[in-house]
Point group: C2
């Protein structure tokens, strides 16, 4: 029986053109993040299933690809639930594995620890256009820095990277989980209602203020609370300085250090930024993951209608592994979105090596082939990309195809049918 | 309950020191292979389980991490076998996925197609020291080139890479599946016995000629065949030119083109090589995978007692997917072994950027922090690695630790307790 040519449902093969751009973008990310002192690390793609099912991953925990037990541990007849059959799971993000890694190796790591991770994650989402079940994430995290130096460096490192990739006029939207909570408390929502309220608020982009009001009322919350809540967003939007306005209005509900903290981040980033972007306070920014405890932020590209990454502070997650909380903050680039935007914009990679193709006639003598290859070796050592291939019957078509792959120089090697000599023809 | 800090059993976290070397080696591999015209590609880490269980992977098929079906497809009560529960599996090598990829995209790919893959593979081996259940493979393959230009380019590309990583005095051992078969046939073994004979022959390194003889006899093969077989290996070892000797001796059993083919490969590689190694004909070389059809080869480092990769020709695998055979040949670097050897040898990475650390006193004024960070930004843009951190109480210890991470320049920023000014101290 013939085997299946297709990749598994919802995952994709990466073709040479896209791969070239991915490699280039990864290199820019790596070089830029390294210049900020971030250290590359790697964790296995699988984690113990208990670590992935600890209510830190929100909705993603429902999307885990589970890995079946093996050998004697797999008891199919006795199995009642998935837990009986699976011991490992594919990671759905890089944050949970990072925190486990940190907890495991804390004594071997610098303090604070500035980690860079680039790796695939897996989510068993319903397959849909442009959304894949295996995709690359690029995260930087700072563990062990309680102050906003962490946020400032994370935002500068990420925006410098995005800027180097040619993106302009984007925004870093910033908010604070404590502002989200204070706004809800101020409006009269009970603490156990916050999560649902934030899930609805998160749809503001799509359904607008009226839509949010409608959904909140449908959920059964008091009309008074809903109206007070939305009036507050309205007032912030109209205020000259949303953060200062809210700090005053929410007095009694909000720790005063939040205002100071956010203003410092915004001022420092604006003062040291190297890319073309704006810091924007956005009180409607929610960020889904329940592990965030403080600042949250997102890269928005209004001209492209796209969010291209985000992150925030999660000071309580290390404690889940070690019993002692350690402050932590991270920023994740939406790698796949960035690649898609670059591909759609017809992006070309700067500074490619010169590419030469040697076309060798089929019956070219073997003993002389070594000389041709030695010549290719010398050109490669000097930095050129040299392809040595057999000449096709339709040489013109072959050269057109090679030109399409970026080859600009062609050299042809012919056997001399009359005697011992061979001949080479060069044309650019 | 506290979560588990350990990675899953048999897999490992990669710490910063090792990661730095891995990144460097990957870069050398990528740059070198690209200069030979190999094109990076990527396939998903999972494949349909049927593709992985098609008898092409030999023993590795017993070591597949299987991925459980999801949602309605998972019927635990009705399940009788593993096949009922799993639909995907983690790839155990990069060759089967490459061939599927080629079959799927042949019309979009150059011909011949020269692929470079670097990616993790998974094997549920019994965990043991230095052997992990997730590990990196680096493969190059040429699909669509029937002649030995493929072998020559694969061997040159791989040895150039190994040489650039600093390895010397290694060997490329080469053999041919057809020589293996002809030697067995010549000695009187039946074709259905070949696989078992080769598995035993493959132990020559470890158990020697006597050990091989003993195991073959224990398997019940005729004493005459066993003696004739081993005498032949003995004679080849004593011959001036093993390939020519065998070609003559095996006349009638061996296609004469095999001799010509191997001699051409050896001559061309020796004539164009840029690294310090020897081509060595080794008639005891077996290579486990049953998909090989012609030349097989291996990198041996006699001084280090290690094999660091191998490959060969597999002309029949594409046909399993498309119905039409296409010639193919590949070479896989033993990436993890190379990393281990480099780590053990105290390898240091050439050409690192200058690393500077800014130490900032705890109560340094926020408004002036922006200036310090802007200065760091300028140094980063100029190619330096700059770390901005809070100054610890024990500054001396902090600087010692940073020096251990490669930081050579330190700059300290103090708040001026008496007034508005701040002060910076620089020391190298």
């Amino acid at each position: 029986m013939a085997l299946s040519k297709k990749p598994v449902n919802g995952m994709k093969d990466i073709l040479p053109d896209e791969m070239q751009i991915r490699d280039y973008v990864q290199q820019v990310i790596k070089d830029t993040y390294r210049s900020f002192g971030f250290t590359p690390i790697e964790t296995p793609c699988m984690e113990n299933i208990a670590n992935l099912s600890s209510k830190q991953g929100g909705e993603n925990e429902k999307l885990i690809f589970k890995v079946m037990k093996r050998g004697e541990k797999l008891k199919i007849e006795e199995a009642k639930t998935e837990e009986d059959l699976a011991d490992f799971g594919m990671r759905y993000d890089l944050t949970v594995p990072l925190v486990r890694y940190y907890a495991n190796h804390v004594n071997e790591l610098p303090a604070p620890f500035k980690a860079l991770q680039m790796g695939n994650v897996w989510r068993a989402d319903r397959p849909q256009r442009g959304r894949y079940r295996q995709f690359m994430q690029c995260d930087i995290d700072i563990i062990g820095e309680p102050g906003n130096l962490a946020e400032i460096e994370l935002i500068l490192a990420t925006t410098t990277t995005i800027g180097r990739l040619g993106f302009e006029k984007f925004e870093i939207r910033i908010n604070e989980r404590r502002i989200l909570k204070a706004m809800a408390a101020y409006s009269g929502f009970a603490e156990e209602e916050f999560d649902t309220v934030f899930i609805i608020l998160d749809k503001m982009d799509k359904i607008g203020m009226d839509g949010v009001a409608e959904e909140l009322l449908k959920e059964g919350y008091a009309k008074e609370s809903v109206e007070k809540y939305l009036a507050l967003f309205d007032a912030v939007a109209k205020a000259d300085d949303g953060i200062r306005y809210l700090a005053k209005e929410l007095s009694g509900f909000l720790d005063p250090e939040v205002e100071q903290n956010l203003l410092e981040i915004i001022t420092s980033v604006e003062g040291a930024k190297t890319a073309d972007f704006q810091m924007v306070f956005d009180p409607t920014l929610v960020r889904g993951m329940s592990y965030y405890t403080g600042t949250i932020f997102e890269i928005a590209m209004p001209e492209l209608g796209a969010a291209c990454g985000g992150g925030g502070r999660y000071d309580k997650m290390v404690g889940r592994f070690t019993g002692n909380d350690v402050p932590a903050c991270g920023f994740s680039i939406g790698f796949e979105r960035i690649i898609l935007l670059l591909m759609e914009s017809g992006f070309t990679i700067p500074k490619q090596p010169e590419k030469a193709a040697y076309l060798i006639e089929k019956n070219y003598p073997a003993d002389q082939l070594a000389e041709v290859i030695a010549k290719a070796q010398a050109e490669r050592a000097a930095g050129k990309q040299v392809l040595v291939v057999r000449m096709n019957k339709n040489k013109k078509f072959q050269k057109e195809k090679l030109a399409g792959e970026g080859y600009t120089t062609f050299e042809e090697f012919y056997a001399d049918r009359k005697g011992d000599n061979y001949d080479s023809v060069k044309n650019a």
